[in-house]
Amino acid sequence: MTEGKILTTEEIVKYFTDEFKTKIIDVKIKKRSAGIKKNITPYIWMKIDKSAFKDIIKHLFTLHYPQLSVISGNDLGNTIELIYHFSINYGQRMNETILNISVDLPKSNPEIETICDYMPGALISEREKQEFLGVKIIGIPDKRRLFLPDEFPEGVYPWRRDETGPEKLYRNLHEAKK
């Protein structure tokens, strides 16, 4: 977790692709400008392979201690996609880069390692993914439910769009009748 010098967006991408070559499947850089002076905020979207997940996270932490904003999840039919939204290089004016790392998990075996040993603040996001998408997180320190009540049936995952979704629990909602 050394400070080091501040890298530009392209150098950050190179820092990862040099180390991990084929494990990084796809990289997209998007730059948004705002205001009269048109200052730029860069966004990096990286798609990585599940097997190198923990090493890539460790590599990120050597750059700058990031802030994990949230972990979002998508149900794409055969796979579940988890996206980790990090941001690094905060602390100085207009230096921040936003890094979104997305991992695909097959539905037959939706398991991934925890990052709570590097960052204890990820606990709430990981607990939420366990109960809403049915992802199993290996090594999580606290396995209890977070938002759903304890009486909620097992095996029903509210964010999924397949047969384990919550269709049987709808009652009288006019959106359901549409």
Binding site: A34, Q67, R93, I98, E128, L169, K178
Partner: protein, 411 residues
């Protein structure tokens, strides 16, 4: 009662979802040793409303109003973060005048929220007259909001690609009159909060959050800044017109020269942010450029354009409580987005409660919890509400304990 062995055990007190100390429902379980807290355990989920699921059958313009009703105090920052995410996914360029207007509305909301918090914090200590004084000042700001947007709370001023209403030159005298009133009364509030002996006795060395804990637990907003971590989305990244304005991080050492991370520091940070907001609004009014206020004024055309977009976007904004982030994925087939994830700032500020409350007395729970400015309505929105929750009504006199401690310290 067997007299064979007398062991010293810790008590466990549940403070259930509905209780007088906190304004919104959250379940705590404290393990106590006498009056000191040893461990904290908490449960959320009492205000789930299924908002993210309700967005699956609505188009983006309807979702703006759904997002507004996530929370009453943060009713501007959720639609604006959603709009930033959609604009990022669809590559819409917002006109410059709209960006300056968005800053003005965001800062007015920040002033209202921080003054409300100041009143609530004073009420938790037992200082009710300060509650009435600060909320009287807030009434003038709410009148200004009603004049500019049409309503006091659910503003409805955001549109994807800009804002809905313009600020014409005849509205500007009223804005300046309200800012002058705020500047005159700011000194009154500052004097009461920061110089009063009672407030200092109750809040110094209470509820401390160290810098390492704030970094590791991903605290955001004034909670992180009062512990010395410099995180502020308005300064770190350039969105709206913040890149053109003169703005810096607010940490407690600007006023006192040292950083302790206790409740007193959080009061300092929030009061200084009110002053910073007044200054930012004045800068914006000076530099307001001319031009259109929305990128695409015809809404059916905007909806048709968004229907064809296939992409994902992230929108971040600095709400009064911290960083709000929305993630939107549009799939190019339906009008409704494929997925929408909302993360309100209180979500990240819940884990720091545990190191802050360990070692404190019970009577300090209301002021420490209120100092993080929790907004539970923002935190619980996911999933489907199912009847069957059992609420615990208990007669915890937490608030009364807090007032009695103040009286004890004063004599």
């Amino acid at each position: 009662m067997s007299k064979a062995t007398i062991t010293k055990n810790n008590y466990q007190i549940p403070i259930g979802p509905v209780h007088p100390a906190l304004k919104e429902p959250v379940f705590f379980e404290f393990e106590l040793d006498g009056e000191r807290i040893v461990d904290v355990n908490l449960k959320l989920g009492h205000v789930h409303r299924g908002i993210e699921w309700a967005s699956r059958k609505r188009n983006p313009v309807q979702i703006l109003y759904l997002a507004e009703r996530i929370c009453g105090i943060c009713s501007y920052c959720h639609p604006i973060a959603f709009s930033l995410a959609v604009e990022s996914a669809a590559d819409i360029q917002v006109p410059e005048r709209a960006e300056y207007l968005r800053v003005i509305h965001g800062e007015i909301e920040r002033i209202c929220s921080h003054i409300l918090w100041a009143g609530v914090a004073a009420h938790e200590i037992g200082f009710d007259t300060v509650l009435y004084l600060s909320w009287q000042i807030r009434e003038k700001t709410l009148d200004l909001t009603e004049f500019l947007t049409g309503n006091r709370v659910t503003k409805g001023i955001t549109m994807i690609g800009g804002v809905r209403r313009d600020i014409t030159p005849d509205m500007i005298p009223k804005i300046q009159e309200t800012l002058k009133y705020l500047k005159d009364n700011f000194e009154k509030i500052r004097h009461i909060f920061l110089d009063d002996k009672t407030v200092k006795m109750r809040t110094k060395v209470c509820g401390i959050l160290t810098k390492e804990d704030a970094l590791k637990l991903c605290a955001v907003g004034p909670l992180a800044r009062s512990s010395g971590v410099k995180k502020d989305v308005r300064v770190d990244s350039s969105y709206f017109a913040y890149g053109d304005l003169d703005i810096d991080y607010i940490t407690p050492d600007i006023l006192t020269g040292e950083i302790n991370g206790d409740v007193y520091d959080r009061i300092i940070v929030r009061l200084l942010e009110i002053k910073q907001s007044i200054d930012l609004i004045e800068q914006c009014l000076d530099k307001l450029p001319a031009g259109p206020i929305v990128a695409e004024p015809k809404i059916p055309k905007l909806l048709a354009q968004l229907k064809k977009v296939n992409g994902e976007g992230v929108g971040r904004h600095e709400a009064p409580r911290g960083e709000v982030i929305h993630y939107v994925k549009l799939d190019g087939i339906n009008e409704a987005p494929f997925s929408w994830k909302v993360r309100a700032p209180t979500y990240n500020n819940i884990l720091p409660w545990i190191p802050m409350l360990k070692g404190q007395q019970i009577a300090d729970i209301p002021i420490v919890a209120a100092s993080t400015d929790p907004c539970m309505s923002c935190t619980n929105r996911v999933g489907i509400v199912k009847d069957g929750n059992m609420y615990e009504m208990n007669k915890e006199q937490l608030h009364k304990l807090s007032i009695e401690k103040t009286r004890r310290l004063m004599l």
